[in-house]
């Protein structure tokens, strides 16, 4: 019997498979298809202080082996998430969930993190400082070590739960941002968020997406994500959740060898809603094939 168990800052997971924020809603749509309690955990839709409609549509564009989204953090706001979504979620998911938080000011991040920190269902807080969709927000915090440090520190001061900072790949040096978060007390890191991209419609000769640009993700970005996890692993000693383009059990192992303790799966859920279940089922045989007894032992194995 191979061992797929892993721990993330004290949070014990049956396996390292976690659906990524924004691609799994609050879980209900998938709970109609399979028992989502088989997941390691899942990261819910990015949540802000106020309810948000997000960006105008079209918000989605197709790419070779991937997609662009400019949803723009549509969510009902932290209040409603706590009052309505979490109790509903409890009925189909008994494990601890990852709370994905976004904001446009340090005060907003602090407000949301403070609120969610008191929720029993939440295992850890994942702070999105990288969403490329919002003109004046998220992006800025994740693109300079100073602002990443500042927001991490402010959140750590008011939370008890482990805090994972989710990094943007749209930077010159992701390692310096990762180090700044670690220095400010982050318990872990999630990477990567989407890459800024765009498509132009040849018929209209205009951008496909109303907002012109959006976040590129899916299978195509796997090598970029893997490289960044590899580089960040060398530079920090806090745990990493690796994501970007994962679509099969082999990718999970590769990502863990690069340095991830757990992985998230995003865009692939949208085209194959059973992908997380399939990967969880495939993982043991794939581990056997590559003579891996325990996932815990392979983290960072490629270094």
């Amino acid at each position: 019997m191979v061992d797929t168990k892993i721990t993330l800052s004290g949070l014990a997971l049956d396996n390292p498979i976690i659906p990524a924020s924004g691609t799994f809603g609050y879980g209900y749509e998938y709970a109609e298809l399979y028992d989502i309690n088989m997941l390691g955990s899942f990261s819910f839709k990015g949540t802000t202080k106020e309810p948000r409609f997000g960006n105008p549509t079209p918000r989605i564009a197709e790419c070779s082996e991937g997609m662009i989204n400019s949803v723009g953090l549509q969510n009902p706001g932290i209040e409603k998430v706590i009052e309505e979504e979490l109790p509903k979620l409890k009925k189909c998911f008994s494990k601890k969930v990852i709370a994905n938080i976004s904001g446009f000011s340090i005060e907003e991040y602090v407000h949301c993190c403070e609120k969610i920190d008191g929720e029993k269902q939440v295992g850890l807080i994942e702070v999105n400082i990288s969403c490329p969709n919002v003109h004046n927000g998220g992006m800025a915090f994740g693109t300079s070590p100073e602002s990443a440090f500042e927001v991490t520190k402010a959140i750590k001061e008011i939370t008890k739960k482990p805090v994972y900072m989710k990094l943007s790949p749209n930077v010159t040096d992701i390692v310096s941002i990762a180090k700044a978060c670690e220095e400010a007390g982050a318990d872990g890191l999630s990477l990567i968020n989407t890459l800024l991209g765009m498509r132009i419609d040849l018929k209209t000769k205009k951008p496909v997406i109303a907002n012109k640009m959006g976040g590129f993700s899916g299978r195509a970005i796997f090598p970029v994500a893997l490289r960044m996890v590899y580089q960040v692993y060398e530079a920090v000693s806090i745990p990493i959740i690796g994501m970007g383009g994962i679509s099969k059990a082999e990718d999970v192992i590769e990502m863990m060898l690069a340095g991830a303790r757990a992985v998230q799966i995003g865009a692939e859920n949208l085209v194959n809603p059973y992908i997380c279940k399939q990967i969880i089922e495939d993982l043991p045989k794939t581990m056997e094939k590559y003579k891996i007894e325990s996932l815990e032992n392979i983290v960072g194995g490629a270094h």
Partner: protein, 243 residues
């Protein structure tokens, strides 16, 4: 929602760039006319949403227009090919509101869902009429299929090559109806909204990520709050639409 494998029984060109695809498989999750399915195609990352044109216990009929890579690929499918399809998506039309003389209005690739809707309304004893709008005669399809159901069929073409010259709204002017159902390109939906003299239901399109409510890719604002076209739609009531 259900994911299952369908087998191509027939794939046939009906009119200019327009194909009818007949599939066999598990249709148990399809419950209402106006719902859609989401099809996985080799070489396309995202699935392709297509309305349910007709279905029974084991057969699913789709009609699609070739407009890009995915639909081009579909046009080459042949008997026995297999397709991975998510079924039972979307809310579908509410038939209970139709009244005795409902009017069904379809434009181009928006015509397919009107077929099963017409079938069901007639089964309920309703006196349904249908307007089918095309750009030109070469695009015409399903005129006879609708007539076989026993509905009154009005054809409009933008260039006047068949039926009434003009848009579907031209035909609407001379018909009286208790209620209406419409599906077609957005400019047509807007025109119908303005022209209509009764309440009705509109079927919308949007670029989709998942098609089952998980990604918020297809949201729109309505008078009843934010809705996802794929899950809370694609059918919206006239009274709730914000243009």
């Amino acid at each position: 929602m259900k994911q299952s494998i369908f087998t191509v029984e027939n794939n046939e060109c009906l009119a200019k760039n327009t194909y009818e695809l007949i599939l066999s498989g598990d249709t148990s999750d399809i419950t209402k006319p106006g719902q859609f399915v989401n099809i996985k195609l080799d070489g396309c990352f995202l699935r392709r949403p297509i309305s349910v044109c007709d279905y029974d216990d084991k057969t699913l009929t789709l009609i699609y227009k070739v407009v890009g890579r995915g639909t081009e690929f579909m046009s080459k499918l042949t008997k026995c090919d297999k397709l991975d399809i998510l079924t039972g998506l979307g809310n579908g039309y509410d038939l209970s509101k139709s009244g005795d003389t409902p009017l069904l209005i379809g434009g181009g690739a928006g015509i397919p869902p009107m077929y099963k809707l017409a079938k069901e309304l007639i089964k309920e004893g309703k006196n349904a009429a249908v307007i089918l709008g095309f750009n030109e005669e070469q695009e015409l399809f399903y005129e006879d299929k609708f007539k076989e159901l026993g509905t009154k069929v009005y054809i409009t073409t933008a260039d006047g090559s068949k039926g009434i010259k003009g848009f579907v709204t031209e035909a609407m002017k001379n018909i009286s109806y208790s209620y209406f159902y419409v599906c077609g390109p957005e400019p047509m939906l807007r025109a119908v909204y303005k022209e209509s003299i009764a309440e009705g239901q509109f079927s919308f399109e949007e670029r989709m990520g998942c098609g089952f409510g998980a990604c918020m890719g297809c949201s729109c604002k309505t008078k009843y709050g934010n809705k996802r076209i794929c899950k809370d739609g694609p059918v919206l009531f006239k009274e709730e639409i914000i243009w």
